[in-house]
């Protein structure tokens, strides 16, 4: 019934849309030549405008007349209409799109259409380069510094009309994941850490978390997992521990294990002189064989088939699993990571567990690494402008966008004034900012984050990152040599919208993910013989859209070339 309700509500709103679109006089200027001289100068806010704004964090909770709203209204001579929709809720976003009631700016968290499709569907307008240069110089500077920024997101067939604005993701620069082991178990079982180990922090549970920039080999990891499973590491006299407990809904748990085969999920590379995607490569087959062997040996928790990510965290917390994947902020026990493995094991002050994070495992050929969070460079995400926005409104929007997202004087739009609305968690300018409890951390009475886009340079990253995470990133996760040697990027990628790769992926992702997930799970638990079923699996993958995706990928630019531009 739920599905019926969704479909009916979508159709209901669609029919309402017919009336609204028929009645509205759309004065959008998408793709047309702009007379830039006729528009106000940068900083000229003499005409009062009404704008409905939303940002990346908008959940529809911004109170009217909030602190940030008032200051922005005064500074830019505008009246802000707050978006009352939760832009993180897929159903609400769907209904909003179907009804055509889009705010003037939006950055939906969940995307089901490419920027080109959103434009073709009459939902967004283009943003002329000239206007960006005039009204958003800081943004254009950022694009220029991050290749191939200025060439990304251009309207098909145009070199000066952008379909969307893009964000700088400095917070995901470097390794996203790294493996961890139960250090107290390693010590008990007589395994030496692979290198010198350091504490993440002095207290709060961080004193029980250690890290090293050295790594175990895959063979060593296998020996460790064996001992974790069979040598009673928790000393309870029962055979109730496991080396590793994966989960069934994502592949993060294997990020560094795949890296030891030179693989990253969904990325492509050259194998036997041909472009292949990870999931159909020979290396992936070897990776699956290793996991199947470990499952057969009893090193993998057999219950993983019914565990999703959240249940897997709970399972880890029970203290029966020895290996888990982690991000730097998990190790630093940042507030937002509360409850997540592996740090959830040491949250309790009485816990005697200790955790060791190492560099990614070293594979047979010395391969080691983790897939980069973003395939090319550090630019990601999408900030759209609605089709109903006029050029004059766009000029004002771009100036607001440029100020609140790229001028670090605008920190008050995220944290208010330090000492009034927020305080440094530790050393000023070197730790995270914490909003005082009387103000809403997001939206609400403060309006913080309510209108901003998810784009962070290094200074902004500091505002929401603990000093412990920053230290881990500096010492290891985002160290230049680590990034250079261990970040796995695809061989080819279409960031310049030259091919139909994005449309193809959207169209076939459901089919292909099902084919891949089923084969992977069956292969690991030994339900199928990998060698015997492999060719059939490849054929299945290719025939269900994979062939089309590969063909489009092949037309794309080499990532190494894109990064050089």
């Amino acid at each position: 019934m739920k599905k019926y309700a969704k479909v009916l509500s979508a159709t209901a709103l669609s029919s309402a849309l017919l009336l609204t679109t028929a009645c509205s006089n759309n004065e959008a200027t998408s793709g047309e030549k702009i007379d830039i001289a006729s528009l106000p100068d940068s900083g000229d806010y003499s005409d009062k405008l009404e704008l409905s704004l939303s940002g990346s964090i908008t959940k529809g909770k911004a109170e009217d007349g909030n602190y940030v709203q008032k200051r922005l209204e005064e500074q830019f001579n505008i009246k802000i209409k707050n978006t009352k929709v939760d832009t993180w809720n897929k159903d609400q976003v769907n209904l909003m799109v179907a009804s055509g009631e889009l705010p003037d700016t939006f950055a939906f968290t969940a995307g089901g259409k490419t920027p080109q499709e959103l434009f073709d569907a009459g939902l967004t307008r283009t943003i002329p380069k000239e206007m960006l240069e005039k009204y958003a110089p800081r943004y254009m500077k950022m694009l220029g510094e991050n290749p191939p920024g200025p060439e990304m997101n251009l309207l098909k067939g145009s070199d000066n009309e952008y379909l969307q604005l893009i964000g700088l993701y400095s917070h995901v620069d470097g390794l996203t994941w790294t493996p961890t082991f139960r250090l107290d178990w390693l010590e008990k079982l007589g395994f030496e850490p692979p290198g010198e180990i350091k504490q993440v922090g002095p207290s709060g549970g961080r004193e029980k978390i250690y890290y090293t920039d050295k790594a175990y080999t895959l063979e060593e990891v296998e020996e460790i997992l064996k001992a974790f499973t069979f040598n009673d590491p928790d000393g309870n006299g029962k055979n109730d521990t496991y080396g590793i407990s994966p989960y069934n809904d994502q592949m993060h748990w294997a990020a560094s294990l795949m890296g030891s085969f030179g693989l990253a999920p969904d990325y492509n590379f050259i194998e036997d002189d041909k472009l292949v995607v990870t999931e159909i490569s020979k290396k992936y087959k070897e990776f699956l064989k290793l996991l199947a062997k470990w499952y057969d040996m009893g090193l993998i928790d057999p219950e993983f088939t019914t565990l999703d990510l959240n249940k897997s965290w709970e399972k880890y917390k029970q203290g029966k699993i020895g290996y888990y994947i982690a991000q730097s902020s998990y190790l630093a026990m940042d507030d937002w990571t509360k409850g997540r493995a592996p740090q959830n094991l040491v949250e309790n002050p009485n816990s005697t567990a200790k955790i060791l994070a190492t560099a990614p495992e070293i594979g047979k050929d010395g391969q080691q690494g983790v897939g980069s969070f973003i395939p090319v460079g550090n630019l990601a995400d999408a900030f759209y402008v609605s089709k109903n926005v006029t050029d004059e409104e766009l000029a004002r929007i771009l100036q607001i966008f440029d100020y609140i997202n790229f001028d670090n004087e605008a920190r008050w739009t995220l944290y208010g004034e330090v000492g009034v609305h927020s305080d440094w968690e530790g050393e000023p300018e070197k730790s995270a900012l914490k909003v005082r409890p009387e103000y809403a951390a997001e939206e609400g009475n403060s309006g913080f984050w309510g209108y901003n886009f998810r784009t962070y340079d290094k200074e902004r990253v500091q505002w929401f990152t603990s000093e412990y995470t920053m230290n881990l990133r500096k010492e290891y996760f985002a160290r230049d040599d680590v990034k250079e040697n261990m970040l796995i990027r695809p061989y080819k990628w279409d960031v310049l919208n030259k091919t139909k790769m994005a449309e193809m992926k959207l169209r076939y992702q459901g089919q292909l993910k099902t084919v891949v997930d089923e084969f992977r799970m069956k292969a690991i638990v030994g339900e199928i013989d990998i060698d015997k079923e492999w060719d059939k699996y490849i054929e299945n993958w290719l025939n269900n859209g994979g062939q089309d995706i590969l063909a489009e990928m092949d037309k794309s630019d080499k990532v190494s070339d894109l990064m050089k531009q």
Binding site: A12, A121, T306, M521
Partner: protein
């Protein structure tokens, strides 16, 4: 010249119209009350049917429904060229039919048995306990079910291993997953589903039971020859309505219980469409899926109703 009789015959319909009008006037408040849901029905259920058009179009919100281009049944071609959709359709039908055969009669039997309980207190407690699972969402129930069948902590595997057997991962086994689906669905809806039959049983004329008793019928005979035939019209209506929903095999239940190892037998249309993210912004495609399901549903309702009307006097209309 018309005879008196002829005039009487001619004036009869007029009188009937007048009588109807007078009757309607008398009950105007009732008609007014009925008008409100009728208007709502029209606005929210009939006007939106216009939107079904987008199942046959490449819908663009900017262009609206009418101006969006026709796409030559592209969405339906896409549906039926996807082997996973075909598999999901097969699974949907299999699971739904199994539920129809096994789960559908359960509340009927339960209601009849409940009716035979003499102790009012025990009857009420039994009823309340049986309603309870209905009020819990599948998110909660699935966690309970997964725990019960867990190979490490589950009570069933505890018994198996206690007697020297090997733990079985029931939730990831194709052979056991469907029986678990059927059983848990029955457990959840048994009590709630019995309410309508219990209500029907209470309206059975007690004289029928008295007459049966005089004829020497015992409790079992009365159940078979009085209770069951008396609730049969309701059973038939419920059966026909259930047939109409045959392509809804239990989205919430399956989504919360399944995993990739059992996709082969448990992936239904709704879970496949949901997992594929096909609904997001793809209103036209989602409408095509919904329309397909509704057409099958209405066809089944019409067919079943026609067959049943031919064989008996019961039916929906």
């Amino acid at each position: 010249m018309q005879t008196v009789i002829e005039r009487a015959v001619e004036s009869k319909p007029k009188r009937k119209e007048n009588i109807n009008w007078v009757r309607m006037k008398k009950m105007k408040m009732l008609y007014f009350m009925m008008a409100i849901p009728m208007v709502m029905l029209f606005i929210f259920h009939y006007i939106p049917m216009y939107g079904i058009l987008i199942a046959f179009k490449n819908f663009s919100p900017g262009l609206g429904i009418w101006d969006s281009p026709w796409n030559n049944f592209e969405h339906f071609k896409r549906l039926f060229s996807d082997f996973l959709f075909i598999r999901a359709l097969q699974n949907t039908i299999v699971i739904s039919l199994l539920k129809l055969i096994i789960v559908f009669p359960a509340p009927i039997i339960f209601a009849i048995l409940l009716n035979e309980i003499k102790s009012e207190k025990f009857k009420k407690v039994s009823q309340s306990i049986s309603y309870l699972p209905h009020f819990m969402s599948w998110v909660i129930l699935s966690a309970m079910v997964i725990e019960v069948f867990s190979p490490q902590r589950g009570i069933i595997n505890y018994v198996i291993t206690f007697f020297g057997g090997e733990a079985i991962n029931f939730m990831s086994d194709k052979g056991s997953f469907i029986p678990i689906l059927i059983l848990t669905d029955m457990w959840k809806e048994l009590g709630w589903g019995a309410i309508i039959y219990l209500a029907t049983i209470t309206s059975i004329d007690p004289q029928l039971y008295e007459a049966a008793e005089i004829d020497g019928a015992g409790r079992f005979r009365k159940m078979i020859h009085v209770t069951l035939p008396s609730i049969m019209p309701m059973v038939i209506i419920m059966f026909i309505l259930r047939l109409g929903a045959v392509l809804n095999a239990g989205f919430d239940q399956i989504l919360n219980l399944y995993n990739p190892l059992v996709y082969e037998v448990a992936d239904i249309i709704d879970t496949y469409v949901y997992r594929s993210g096909l609904e997001q912004f793809q209103f036209d495609y989602a409408t095509a899926v919904g329309l397909f399901k509704n057409v099958i549903g209405i066809a089944l309702i019409l067919t079943a109703n026609a067959i049943i009307r031919r064989k008996s006097e019961h039916g929906i209309w």
